[in-house]
């Protein structure tokens, strides 16, 4: 299994595990959901998306269910590219269907780059990635007012480190359900 897939599985598992244990707030899940803002306090998002949740055992990640596809909230990109790789088509379709069916849901697409190059140009590259996901969702029927984008460029890496593995984990768009 590639590092990528392993990483996606781990992140997905962390997300779902975080949602399953509602009584005990999970810092990691909150961080992944982008809610570590020091100034604004809001209810942790995504809870109503996932309902009460339950532990997923056994075959998780091997057989894609609509729930597991929705649990994939991070899309990774190749170097200097905003093209969505085919492996994400299914999960983007699942998010699109979910959003199109629930027009009151709102997502924020957070674009990121690896650390190389200049910072403001990387803000542009991260935005380009977020916009690519936005267009893919809109092409599948999601309303434009359900989607906002933000680019953090290289400012908020998911993984620290200056090697190919860390860079691959940082070139990403995170889908964050706001309500």
């Amino acid at each position: 299994m590639s590092m990528h897939k392993l990483a996606i599985l781990l992140v997905s598992a962390a997300l779902i595990a975080g949602c399953a244990k509602k009584t005990k707030p999970d810092d990691e899940a909150a961080r992944v959901a982008g809610r570590d803002d020091g100034f604004v306090t809001q209810p942790s998002p995504g809870d109503d998306l996932f309902g009460d949740g339950r532990a997923v055992e056994g075959e998780f990640g091997v057989i894609d269910t609509p729930e597991s596809l929705l649990g994939r909230t991070i899309i990774y990109f190749d170097f200097d590219s905003a093209a969505i790789r085919s492996e994400y088509a299914q999960s983007i379709a699942a998010h699109a269907a979910h959003l199109a069916d629930n027009s009151r849901l709102v997502v924020r697409l957070e674009g990121h780059t690896d650390e190389r190059g200049s910072r403001e140009y990387n803000i542009g590259l991260g935005e380009r990635r977020a916009q690519a996901v936005r267009r893919a969702l809109m092409l599948q029927g999601v309303g434009g007012d359900q989607i906002s984008t933000v680019s953090y460029g290289e400012e908020r890496p998911a993984v620290s480190g200056s090697d190919e593995e860390a860079w691959a984990m940082n070139r990403r768009v995170e889908i964050v359900y706001l309500r």
Partner: protein
């Protein structure tokens, strides 16, 4: 809306609560120059009550070394320590092979004030070069040291010194996994760092106003990017750009009346805009589906250099204020970004991809040609000293960002190492007006 007001209030409280800085930067010369002029800065006498808070001679010594043009003598090698002109025996210093001797005394003045009398001698020619009485507030001896270093530097080189200027930079550290972004101001040599803004969300792209009294920067404190202008003396700030989508890369016009900035809009198409600060009038300068970002004004205020990937990879372009016909100015390599124009308008510092390594390069705008000035793998954010003699930039060392400075002739390179945090985006202030 109440959230936003609460957020602003909390941020203001945090601003007031930012602790006095502990993070001291220190300078290490990583690449020297053999032609540096040997100087001797003799420890200054202190004739007032108590003990001085700052070793003024050491400040001057450090500043002159920082310039790369001078090689100060180790104090332990000084055979005499004169503090008055009549005590200076030039033949002693000639034997020590020093060209310049600086002596001085810190004398009591009005309560809370001193007067620093200093003299500079040309050992080589056997002549006094300058003598000066500098009144100074007792709590600003370090500032006086910078000022004296500037005066000596200008007398000896003919170029105004930059030791009284300041730098701004951003750090991030993650105590317990939570990021803290801070915007700092410090003396040009890294001394007296002072955090002026702090947030859990990214702070980016600080830019000094031409009068060096205000700083524009990008803050994501509400989750999205907005551009602020903060008054340095009062800490008061205002939002100057909060359009939907990206608000980034602020750059002051040379007269301080306008900001060039980057807006992305809902569709995320980054273009350069020009905001007139007094009237809030916003004008779009570039109009292209590519990424146009990182504007930098030519010193005459008539054109703007910027990064665009309209030809594929990022390259530097120049456009007049009418926005017509942007012209490409870089052709070497597949990645040139973040242009900064030298104070004389004749050179451009950029981030250049040099066979996989991102380095600071200098482009001669008149004659063409590019010279690579740095040797790191991920060097970024070049910024000219206001006299054009040096460029400060960020590099990586041991997995974190540190600051480095290189002379624009490429001969002297030195690290300004912070003791904590991941340091990035240094910007050199203009001369204070």
């Amino acid at each position: 809306m109440t959230h936003r007001i609460a957020a602003c209030f909390i941020f203001l409280c945090l601003l007031l609560a930012v602790p006095a800085a502990q993070a001291q930067l220190r300078i290490e010369i990583t690449q020297g120059v053999s032609e540096a002029v040997p100087v001797a800065i003799v420890p200054f006498a202190f004739e007032a009550e108590g003990t001085p808070a700052v070793d003024v001679a050491a400040v001057i010594d450090g500043n002159l070394a920082f310039s790369g043009r001078f090689a100060p003598m180790d104090r332990r090698d000084m055979v005499a320590r004169p503090t008055r002109p009549e005590e200076v025996r030039l033949e002693d210093w000639r034997l020590l092979k020093t060209d310049i001797v600086v002596i001085g005394r810190i004398k009591p003045a009005a309560p809370g004030r001193y007067e620093i009398e200093f003299h500079v001698f040309d050992v080589f020619r056997g002549q006094p070069l300058m003598g000066y009485n500098l009144p100074v507030s007792a709590d600003n001896l370090r500032g006086a040291g910078h000022r004296i270093a500037d005066m000596i530097f200008e007398r000896l080189t003919g170029v105004p010194g930059i030791f009284s200027t300041r730098i701004a930079y951003v750090t991030v550290d993650r105590p317990g996994g939570t990021a803290r972004y801070r915007l700092w101001l410090a003396d040009a040599d890294g001394a007296r760092p002072n955090a002026i803004a702090e947030s859990a969300q990214p702070i980016m792209s600080p830019a000094w106003s031409p009068d060096s009294r205000r700083i524009a920067y990008v803050s994501f404190e509400t989750g999205v990017s907005r551009i602020f202008v903060q008054d340095i003396a009062t800490g008061r700030r205002e939002v100057v750009s909060s359009q939907p989508g990206i608000n980034g890369a602020p750059a002051w016009s040379p007269d301080g009346s306008r900001l060039a900035l980057v807006l992305g809009g809902r569709e995320g198409n980054l273009d350069i805009h020009v905001l007139t600060l007094a009237s809030k009038e916003l004008r779009r300068l570039t109009r292209h589906p590519a990424i146009d970002t990182e504007p930098s004004w030519a010193p005459d205020g008539k054109s703007i250099y910027f990064t665009s990937d309209r030809a594929g990879g990022p390259q530097i372009y120049r456009v007049g204020l009418d926005g017509e016909n942007p012209r490409r100015v870089t052709f070497e390599g597949n990645y040139n970004a973040r242009p900064r124009v030298s104070p004389d308008g004749e050179q451009l510092a950029v981030v250049h991809n040099d066979r996989g390594n991102f380095r600071i390069a200098l482009i001669d705008l008149r004659r063409g040609g590019m010279r690579i000035l740095s040797d790191g793998r991920q060097d970024e954010s070049p910024s000219f000293a206001p006299n054009g003699s040096m460029i400060i930039y960020a590099t990586r060392e041991g997995g974190r960002g540190v600051l480095s400075a290189v002379s624009t002739d490429g001969r002297v390179r030195q690290r300004i190492a912070g003791t904590e945090g991941d340091v990035r985006e240094p910007v050199w202030s203009p001369y204070a007006r």
